[in-house]
Symmetry: C2
Subunit: 384 residues, 2 copies
Amino acid sequence: MNVYIAGVATTPFGELWDVSPRSLANEVVDRAIRDAGIEKNDIEALFVGNMLSGMLGGQEHLGAFFSDALGMHVPAFKVEGACASGGLAAHMAIMSVLSGQYATVCVLGVEKMTDHKPEDVSAALAGAGSDEERMSGATFPALYALLARVHMHRFGTTQEQLASVAVKNHFHASMNPNAQFKNLLTIEKVIQSSMIADPLHLLDCSPISDGASAIIVTSKPSYGIHPIQVLASSVATDTLDIARRSSLDELRATRIAAKKAYNQAGISPKDIQVVEVHDCFTIAEILAMEDLGIYEKGNAAKAIEEGKTRLDGDFDCVVNSSGGLKGCGHPVGATGVKQLVEIVEQLRGSAGKRQVPNPRYGLTHNVGGSGATAVVHILCTNRQ
Amino acid sequence: MNVYIAGVATTPFGELWDVSPRSLANEVVDRAIRDAGIEKNDIEALFVGNMLSGMLGGQEHLGAFFSDALGMHVPAFKVEGACASGGLAAHMAIMSVLSGQYATVCVLGVEKMTDHKPEDVSAALAGAGSDEERMSGATFPALYALLARVHMHRFGTTQEQLASVAVKNHFHASMNPNAQFKNLLTIEKVIQSSMIADPLHLLDCSPISDGASAIIVTSKPSYGIHPIQVLASSVATDTLDIARRSSLDELRATRIAAKKAYNQAGISPKDIQVVEVHDCFTIAEILAMEDLGIYEKGNAAKAIEEGKTRLDGDFDCVVNSSGGLKGCGHPVGATGVKQLVEIVEQLRGSAGKRQVPNPRYGLTHNVGGSGATAVVHILCTNRQ
């Protein structure tokens, strides 16, 4: 059985003070359904990706909550895996269609973070890591700073190369009407921004965001004007804390999930023209490009610096055309779904100013915690 | 493709002060794996049912957390749907096997509630309901009390009939070594216990509990000494709050999920010999027996009072042989998984003192909130 993404939609990401999670969800789900050319009652189940609504808002039971809010009353599920919640919800939805239990389902990724005090958001996000890391005050910027230091030490990666990830992603975001940050950056500006956790400056870090994204997953090739086929959906996990990992110059979960995905899809990294990776920090994009096998270990930082992943560069493949987590924003539960929305737009040829020329294959990469969970999807267009 | 439950295990339920969620999980998963006669590395994915770890313990990302704690590092997912989290995790696991993505997976339901202040637990549990219910102080005992009042008014259901559910379930629990409450009750004792929300007394309510349960779901009929086939797994949702429902003498989500499950299984309610239902309050068991179609609407209370669902009675079918949520305990995320453990034990003929004679079909019924989510499974033994 083939599985397709027939409809997609995303809200703008950013500080959305004047809307509730309910209205964000209503907006994207309605638009995704219309984009698929179907009716609400064609949706047989709802998969909600969200991390923080319980801890920050006291609201759990989000499957029933949103199926009710959307007026659907279908089987509904909340899937949580920290910042990979959206990707995991999509994986579950794809499995549910492959199982034959549901023909057409909706994946909704949604998060509302800016209504809360930053210290409460930080504390809640620490729930993605281990007890030991929380107790020792090792926040996610601190953990990724450690990974950056290892990479700099082992491969000579520079602060300028880290900064070039943020510069590229803001450039891409400047062409994305839904992006949180449309301002252009320079290497100097990133390096001169406040130090958060050495060597990561403020502008090496993705922001706190609100937003929602939705996709319609179906086994029916007739849905949507231009359905995009899901060739692979894979998940892997690693230790929750980085202290017990055998190597700190890679995210092993990404390597395992990627290998499985390439096998499922029957393609290799060099076949991919457009990729959305989980750049929660600039170092994370460099690790991702290597762990996904798009560059050899130790070669990604230089390639990114040279514009090899930038839409206006002499690119091998375009990375984070949406602006990524850094430029487009990172409403945790929505991120993994937004990545799929962006790749579908690219494969349809409907990505506007940020369109990559004629891509055939695209990949998404969504991470939870400091790499304890990784989710990889490979999509394909049949357009000639 | 057929799907089987090849291994099961549960910890005792109760106030488990001296163990962590990690050790509860290790114990049940190890035992379930051994029960299936397989090795840990035969498990290809982990589905965790849990509601409260984020709100009460600040720990999310439980898929990766437990796959790490169990030394598995397989694809791992947390599935949440309030008190139906365990049943939903099982549904996801079954779909994942039917999809062909995973051949053998583990479902872990786990909850640790008694370490926290009762008022914090109550506040967290209210996260299963609607904003409006929370804001008006309508706790779950209050909501189920309203449903009980409607049932009493419409069908003449009595306090004694409500109490007879608790009396039966404590009687069954007295034969279950894993049950939280093994003491026998009387109708008088239930009615004389403190009033919680009129007409529900303390002993009409299920307790706060700790515990964990696990099952091994597989497509391989050769696993386990006596694999039990999953004939149906279905989910339905309704409005989150009871105020907007068209009828208050039923849980519509149960009716929809049950109808779908009977269709999938190709059987009718009268074929079932043993049932685990979601008796979070005594009225909930009465509603469940009617909404599952085992008794006509308005007839269940009398049947229960007459011993028609009691192991030592002249039973039509035995209900909550484990003791149910009332007698065995209700560690939220574990409950839906424990129900499956109990039915598997019954269909294997290994339920000891509480064994129902030669059951062929068994059913589980798990509810989230005041009926916004319902999950129904139907299992079958091929034993002659």
